[in-house]
Amino acid sequence: MSNNEFTQELSVIEGKPSLRSLDEIISKPLDTKPDKKYYIALGVTLTMLTIGAVALAYSFYYGIGLWGNNNPVGWAWPIVNFVFWIGIGHAGTLISAILFLFRQKWRTGIARFAEGMTIFAVITAMIFPIIHTGRPWVAAVYLLPYPSQHSLWVNFYSPLLWDVFAVSTYFTVSFTFWYVGLIPDFASLRDRTKSKVKKIIYSITSLGWRHSNRHWRHYEMVYLILAGLATPLVLSVHTVVSFDFAVAQLPGWHSTIFPPYFVAGAVFSGFAMVQNVLIFIRKIFNYEHIITLDTLEKMNKIILLTGSMVGYAYTMEFFIAWYSGVPTEVFTFVNRAFGDYSWAYWIMFSCNVFIPQLFWFKKIRRTIPIMFVIAVFVNVGMWFERFVITVTSLSRDFLPSSWAYFKPTIVDGALLLGSFGLFFTLVLLFTKSLPVISIAEVKGVVDGSQPSHGEH
């Protein structure tokens, strides 16, 4: 073994495919008619979406009394679902922006897809706080500082308003980032397609991109700047989401560990979701050489890392509750683990902390069915984490006379099902309408695609 082998960078794309074959394989789903399986999958997700839409229509007509929210658990599933979906979105930005800044080339194969999932997850998430207001068509206006006849402005000291700004900025910037990445791909598709209609669509969406190096020069700089802006942005979004809880004075919420703990949890659940979906995508569209097993293994390592961080946070919360000596704080945590909601707590703890520890074994990290199941458990666990945080603290507040047990209704369940329906419907439509892998970026990391720099 020579020294050379240690310094050589490993290829992120297997088998050195020709550039034209990359064009073909990535644009194949756009050029071919969807098959039966696709329609079955779309049928399933649309059914879920319809169930959610019917439940939503009922909630609008009869009011949100149809949900299980009671007094004192005024924030229940809608907020749980909101935080869950926002968290799913965070993996996409982490992959596309933070890993880009760290020059992790393996991200190129999965970045586009993960960014797409970010956008769909944020869309899904934004529905929940708005419908929780009961009259969303009015709330949508009142959330923004606009000069109304009340001559009253919104409260800029409220974390809920910070959320409005954080989430809408996050959506706008993610979407912009995504679209900027898509422009060169639209141009490639425009020059490939033989259909007249598609040509017009791609001409409009590509804005007449010419792959000119005088353009690439600015383009690459903007991509770097956007990655640099998106990195603190993604950290800020879940930080602000955690402020919704941490700024309140409820025991179990009022804690400075929340921002880092929420961000780690968001990345954790997001990576699990991206990994789940990519396992299908690489199989169905034959992208095994682009989204390689190495890539999946690296994602599993991040799941292991963030899972351990979340486990640390759970433990530290307990420690601080005891160490602070605040009786209500101690009660809240003992109640979480051994009280009425202990079942939810232990589902959360085992799914998020114990099960991902299996990723210490290389064999498990590289076995697709096992990693898929583990990631599903992670998502179940992360949904329950938000449930435990929101519901246990609220159901046992300072005044024992107002304690109550929260029970979800069938409408709550239908709305959660509908949110999955919406998310996966958007994902399915995405796979058939846009290139799910960034053509230009992948071409740039194939072996032999960059000059050899003989003079160096």
Partner: protein
Amino acid sequence: MSEKILYSYSALFDTPDKIIHAAKTVAEKGFKKFDVNTPYPVHGMDKAMKLTKSKIGWVTLVFGLTGTLTAVTMMGWMMAVDYPIVIGGKPYFGLPGFGPIMFELSVLFGAVITVVALLMFFLKLPNNSHPVHDTEYMKNVSSDKYGILIEATDPKFNKNEVEALFQELGAEKILPIYFDEEEISFKPKIFDKKFIGFLVIVAAITSLSVYGTMNKVLYMIPFSWMSEQGKSIPQETSKVFKNGSDMLPPVKGTVARGYLPYRFKGQPDKAAELLVNPLLPTEENLALGKTKFNIYCSPCHGYLADGKSRLNGNFPAPPTLHSNKVRNWTDGRIYHVIMEGQNVMPSYAHQLSEKERWAVINYIRVLQRSFNAKESDLL
């Protein structure tokens, strides 16, 4: 057919090494108006083409800071100038609380305006009428070839020399690119009938949907400003209660607050003996008594309680309250008259609350005293 106008000469190459070499050579020969087109950004190309580093970062800096400033001014003006409210004991202008939104708006402005500036000012896009579009050259460079082109307007451009240069560099293919005939003689189609028809249809649909939303949809359930609510309204029938009405009669024996039944019905002597005036003749109570007396009592008894009725004989005038009889009555006895009435006088129990009755009695005592003042009162 007119003669085609040449835009540029272009060459296609196979490998990134070759295109870097070609770009370097062309730049060194002194050409200015040339460009390299590659399916993805090739490392080291900027240096080979002698291009400087992009300055677009300044746009981000300036507009990012504009975002910060916008956020501070907006929140400061709204919270501290236009409508100051104390929220949680925080100062009107509290910078720490403004922090998150200042950050978000900086990122928002910085990111969005940078991209707009990139596309519109740095790249001059959208531009679908550039001569290279729809050429064989473009189709290759957007897939797997590396292309270089030298524009015909470059001062050093010479057809044969450029062609020879490309051949020398090892070009796989050399292609001339011409301006598109259609695009040279392109006329804007703004006044096209179809386009105007399209605009009219869009305008009609927009106005109809806005009219419909504002005047119809917003007045339909459940958008109708909460006019339809699942609640009980007085005088409506009910499916919940046994009596079929939304209003339930009070439980038997219920007494409303402040409406205890009068204990001495028909027993003036007992009232005189047992009822005690709980109200002190304070200035405030006397003022209340005066107000109520002037409203309810004075029309018949007169402002001075001397029986000078303002009703001018429509009713028999009541006797004066300054008689010895009334002066010697206890407060409780007068209270009884207010509660039950006397002779022609009806009960005033419903017009006056308990406190007001005692206040009126106190005021009557003041009037009586003023008519029979002692010398000592003058001091």
